[in-house]
């Protein structure tokens, strides 16, 4: 490993510890002595809070410690000598525990020697300090010096009281300092790195200015960082305290100032400490101090460390393009001009690179990076010179061009297929273009969605993206092992029209269909009509299927679909066939590239077929014939009567109770049953009177779009509205709306909507419908938040689980989670239930 450069730079581990006051002083580049920042000339004051020994943030100045400039100096810590020690507020709880656990006289741990030895032995074997803590509580007097122990009370945030006496930070410090190292070890502390007295601060570390840069407003005024403000406060009080002590001020005044100092230090660490008012900015906004910087979603850890910002990325609106492949992405020229790919200049491509640098039209070279890491912008003027001086070892940054690999992403990135690798296709316009079939994994639509694009900058990254993340490799979702990149909506309708029985094309038509998919070979006609050669839609569709594909399944319409050696023999393609049977089977048997080709071509010719056929919906689709309307009215009438009958029975108490339910519950249940039956009956009527010639019904049946319910609600009746899965009952006293009599529990008074959407809802119905609508709206909002948090927790809990060389699943500690992944070691993306069954029954089992 000695020669491995990458390994040398790796961080192996990070040790956490406390700083001792000595260490703070040793590390310190400057002792802060002036509670101020800049002098009148706007120059940093020596010994002030922006002392130049701490580093610089102003351009032009040099760091007095390392000589670095604005970017090269990392910043150096300084310190403040506190005249009186103060307690670090975040460790107050720890201090309280230690004070309780140790003798107030001899400062030994309050457990008998013998027991302590036992614990020490146990500690050797495994890390546990839980038992010790519980055994301490039982002790009343010190087993070493016999001193009786008074209760130590902790008054938030930083005060301790022993018996009646309030402890000063100095007392606390002295007590903690006396606890022997051995006892600390028993408590789980590491005294070599964290002596307890160090949590009582005597020297306060001051972070470098780079951590708390001031900003200059347009007016030229300087605005200091919140931390600097707080440090100024601390310095001021510290100085006043010192002055008072030196002047021999009364103890009372000194203690007041001391407490004030403690307050400032407390808020400097955590401005949300319970029990004290937060320090505020002049404007009244609470200051953001150290803890607030780290904590929470917008804190350092989650915002800056777990998530990192990148260059070479772009974002814009997406729009559909059915003619590009699913693994392509249309990139606007404007975007391509900004994004670049680095190309290393080698003896083999140097001539090409020189030519590239000289180009004056679109795929330009933006920058040339010289071997000495100097970055030169390619401009009108510099072009010739840069091209001439180009040498091996340079890197050129050329603009993004056709065929480059990029990562494409839509947020929220709920699963790994929310980011996939596409090939670039430069296009005019302002939006990213993507194929409609690749929409489901991103969950994208085109109502204004924006997506992000990233350009991998090293060959390693490009290759990895292509091998692992390319779109065709993700056709089958790892979630369930079924196709997720698939034809949808009009693709399904189109395929249906194309492959329906009796659909034939003449020579010209057949050529047109095939040409769309780029097929130039016309198969032999399989039909004749009036003596002329005809090509069936099934035959044309079959041209897309790979030879050797055999398939038999039952379609959504109940038809048997048969494919023999890549020929659709019988049956019609609908959504089930398109998605699962075909795409999945092709992907598994013939590989991702074949599947990609199939999805590309099948969607294209389906769209061609549907546009030739013509397809639309209108009000007409939902207008039922009079006879049907009459039947629906009858159904409603009967249902209402039936409900009234039930209500009568209920009122007379003759209604038969369902087991385990009250009479009221029984009634509600029965009514709901009657009404949903009524709607279903309407559905039958709708289905019968509209039938498969109706585009809306057809789409529902073949699984292209919508459901029968949509058609029912539009054409026949909307049906019962519900809030919390119950009929609507809230509102006024004993009635949801004033339009009904009190105590009316009939169908209409409780939110049964008889009207259809085409007919229009009555005001009361509209109101009930809105109530139901509001509930689902609220539910969606709550659900997204809750499920988002659940997913965050799941990911955090499971993220370290990885398949090892031996195919077992272990976490980062090496703890075994599964001996064989999933129980069978198979990849859900690569197997289906059928495949597993096939493998199990196969005679040549391994």
């Amino acid at each position: 490993m000695a020669n491995n450069v990458a390994a040398d730079k790796m961080i192996e581990k990070i040790k956490f510890s406390l700083f001792s006051p000595d260490m703070v002083r040793k590390m310190s580049a400057a002792k802060i002595s002036v509670p101020d920042t800049y002098n009148e000339d706007g120059y940093p004051i020596d010994g002030g809070l922006v002392d130049q020994r701490m580093g610089v943030i102003d351009p032009g100045l040099k760091c007095k410690t390392c000589g670095g400039k604005i970017r090269s100096c990392p910043g150096h810590f300084a310190h403040i000598e506190l005249v009186r020690p103060v307690i670090h507020p975040e460790f107050a709880k720890v201090i309280h525990f230690l004070l309780k656990a140790t003798c107030e006289k001899c400062h030994r741990l309050l457990i008998p020697k013998k027991q302590a030895e036992e614990f020490a032995a146990a500690l050797e074997e495994e890390e546990t300090s839980g038992d010790i803590i519980s055994s301490i509580k039982k002790v009343g007097a010190c087993p070493y010096c016999g001193a009786k122990q008074a209760d130590v009370k902790f008054e938030k945030p930083t005060t301790f009281v022993v018996g009646e006496k309030q402890l000063l930070p100095t007392d606390v410090r002295d007590m903690l300092a006396e606890i022997p190292d051995g006892d600390m070890k028993l408590l789980g502390f590491d005294p070599a790195f964290a002596r307890p007295e160090w949590v009582v601060l005597t020297a306060l570390m001051v972070p470098p200015v780079t951590v708390r840069p001031s900003i200059t407003l347009e007016t030229g005024e300087r605005s200091e960082d919140d931390l600097t403000h707080k440090l100024v406060d601390i310095m001021r009080i510290n100085q006043r305290l010192e002055a008072n002590i030196n002047a021999g001020a009364p103890q009372l005044i000194i203690e007041d100032l001391w407490e004030l100092l403690q307050y400032h230090v407390t808020t400097y660490f955590n401005n949300e400490t319970a029990g004290i008012p937060p320090a505020r900015h002049r404007s009244g906004r609470p200051l953001k101090t150290l803890l607030q910087r780290l904590k929470g979603k917008e804190g350092r850890f989650r915002y800056n460390l777990s998530g990192k910002r990148v260059n070479f990325s772009a974002r814009t609106v997406i729009s559909p393009d059915p003619m590009i492949s699913i693994n392509e992405v249309g990139v606007p020229v404007k975007v391509a001009e900004e994004l670049s790919v680095p190309v290393k200049v080698t003896p083999w491509n140097i001539e090409e690179c020189k030519k590239m640098v000289l180009r004056t039209e679109f795929p330009l070279v933006n920058y040339v990076i010289r071997p000495d890491a100097k970055r030169k912008k390619v401009t009108e003027k510099s072009r010739q010179e840069l091209s001439d001086t180009l040498e091996v070892g340079c890197t050129i940054e050329r603009q993004l061009g056709d065929g480059d690999i990029v990562l494409f992403n839509r947020q929220p990135s709920l699963h790994r297929i929310s980011i996939m690798a596409h090939r670039v296709r430069i296009m005019p316009g302002q939006s990213f273009r993507l194929n409609l079939a690749v929409t489901p994994p991103y969950n994208a639509d085109f109502d204004g969605d924006e997506m992000n694009l990233h350009v991998p900058q090293t060959e390693e990254a490009q290759v990895e993206a292509e091998v692992l993340m390319k779109v065709q490799g993700q056709i089958i979702s790892p979630r369930h092992g079924h196709a997720i990149i698939k034809g949808q909506e009009d693709h399904v309708s189109g395929a249906f029209f194309l492959t329906r029985d009796g659909v034939t094309y003449d020579k010209r038509g057949a050529c047109d269909v095939l040409a769309i998919a780029g097929i130039t070979e016309l198969p032999k006609p399989d039909m004749t009509e009036g003596g002329k050669e005809r090509w069936s839609g099934k035959l044309l569709f079959s041209q897309l299927l790979p030879k050797g594909l055999d398939l038999e399944y039952k379609s959504k319409l109940g038809e048997a679909v048969k494919i023999r050696n890549g020929l659709l023999v019988s049956g019609t393609i609908e959504s089930k066939g398109f998605e699962n049977e075909l795409i999945e089977r092709i992907a598994r048997k013939f590989g991702p590239d074949a599947a990609r080709g199939f999805v590309d071509d099948a969607t294209k010719i389906s769209l061609y077929a549907i546009s030739r056929h013509g397809f639309s919906v209108s009000l007409e689709n939902y207008t039922l014939p009079d006879a049907a309307m009459k039947r629906i009215a009858d159904i409603c009438e009967n249902a209402k009567k039936e409900v009234d009958g039930l209500v009568m029975q209920y009122k007379k108490r003759t209604l038969e109770r369902l087991p385990g339910r009250s009479l009221k519950e029984t009634l509600e249940e029965r009514i709901m049953e009657v009404l949903s039956k009524a709607r279903n009956a309407c559905g039958k009527v709708v289905e019968e009177s509209l039938g498969m010639t109706n585009t809306s019904i057809l789409m529902a049946k073949i699984g292209a779009r919508g459901s029968l319910l949509n058609a029912i609600q539009m054409g026949a009746m909307v049906g019962q509205q519900a809030v919390r899965s119950k009929r609507i009952y809230r509102g006024y006293k004993k009635r949801p709306l004033l339009h009904y009599k009190r105590g009316d529990i009939g169908a209409e008074a409780r939110g049964f909507v008889i009207s259809s959407f085409t007919k229009g809802l009555t005001p009361e119905e509209f109101f009930f419908h809105s109530m139901g609508g509001r509930e689902s709206l609220v539910n969606t909002a709550i659900r997204t938040a809750r499920s988002g948090y659940m997913q965050r927790r799941l990911i955090n809990a499971l993220q370290d689980l990885v398949v090892q060389e031996d195919r077992s699943v272990r976490d980062s500690r090496g703890t075994m989670v599964e001996f064989v992944y999933g129980g069978d070691g198979l990849d859900p993306m690569k197997v289906s239930k059928e495949l597993v069954a096939e493998m199990l029954t196969s005679p040549e089992r391994e």
Partner: protein, 334 residues
């Protein structure tokens, strides 16, 4: 013919993350509606709330339930009903009004003779149980009233004894507040109960012990052990997803359940369980309770060995997953 080695999971695959995503992603599509088990329990959580409940590894689900199949000899309506009645818990509040008299420092139990008749209990039975409970001194007053004098005289103590009396267990199995005879899809008779108490139910000879079901995962752990609990997690999670018609591969659920049961006890997903007990300080700090973890790490002088995913992202190194675990070293020519 497919070869097993061609469909095996790849070494280095981040199966944990894939599982988490596969379970989490459909979360947005899940409903929040509750389910109604006729006559037994209302508002049984399904969908997202139930899934969260499973993942949280609560001690008890919001609505614990049991399905109890019966031993061969009891598989008819009559006998099943008798069993259901026998196991349904009857507490004092079910058959009596319990009122307190603060002035006299007495509690009166006014029994309802009709309800008592339903449950087949007489005042003598109740009396015996109250006496045994040692809440206080009890004596019968009149036909259907029992007077009880609590031991302690403070108002608080009286109130506490009243509560205790109301919850006093008279008969049946503790925790089973309702028991109803129903039939499953195959027409087989079984008892569904609200509340769950597996260990008691298993003691009954009327019960087919092989088919006792509870939705309480922690109880499964306590009674049958960790392997059963793991299976219960998979089963419950799968049921939730199936009910929503969401397709998630079983292997993902297996990973989740195995991780939750990794070290012998059911641990929750979240800050009190798996995430909170991780080895890495940085990973814990990045999840929740940032400060707490940093402070503790400092006083204990803890080390972060940077072996997990988050830690390495934080320090800006390759993550030990997928191609990140492959290490190549080149020997330089001398």
């Amino acid at each position: 013919m497919v070869k097993r080695k061609d469909v095996m999971i790849d070494v280095g695959e981040a199966v944990g993350i894939v599982a988490a995503q596969s379970i989490g992603e459909p979360g947005t599509q899940m409903t929040m509606r509750t389910f109604h088990y006729a006559g037994v329990a209302e508002q049984v959580p399904t969908g997202l709330p139930r899934l969260i409940e499973i993942v949280d590894a609560r001690r008890e689900p919001k609505k614990p339930l049991m399905n109890i199949y019966l031993a061969k000899a009891f598989r008819d309506e009559e006998k099943a009903k008798a069993v259901a009645e026998a196991i349904e818990e009857v507490s004092l509040r079910k058959i009596a009004h319990v009122v307190e008299d603060f002035e006299k420092k007495e509690v009166y139990v006014r029994l309802d003779p009709q309800l008592m008749g339903y449950e087949g209990m007489g005042i003598g039975d109740v009396m015996a149980i109250i006496k045994k409970s040692e809440i206080g001194k009890a004596e019968q007053q009149g036909e259907n009233v029992i007077m009880l004098k609590p031991k302690a005289g403070s108002l608080k103590a009286i109130r506490r004894s009243t509560e205790k009396l109301r919850d006093l267990h008279l008969k049946g199995v503790k925790g089973l507040s309702k028991a109803l005879v129903t039939r499953d899809e195959k027409g087989e008779i079984f008892i569904r109960t609200a509340g769950s108490n597996v260990s008691e139910i298993l003691k009954l000879k009327e019960v087919d012990p092989a088919r006792v079901y509870t939705n309480n995962i922690k109880e499964v752990d306590a009674v049958f052990g960790i392997e059963a609990a793991r299976n219960a997690i998979v089963f419950e999670a799968n049921q939730v997803l199936e009910m929503q018609k969401l397709d998630v591969d079983r292997r993902h659920l297996n990973v989740l359940a195995d991780a939750m049961c990794m070290d012998g006890q059911v641990k929750s997903v979240g800050r009190h369980g798996l995430s909170g007990q991780k080895a890495s300080i940085l990973a814990r700090a990045a999840f929740e309770e940032t400060i707490k973890h940093l402070i503790n790490a400092a006083i204990k002088g803890e080390e972060d060995r940077l072996v997990g995913v988050t830690e390495n992202i934080i320090v800006g190194q390759y993550i030990p997953v997928g191609t990140g675990i492959v290490k190549l070293a080149m020997q330089r020519k001398k």
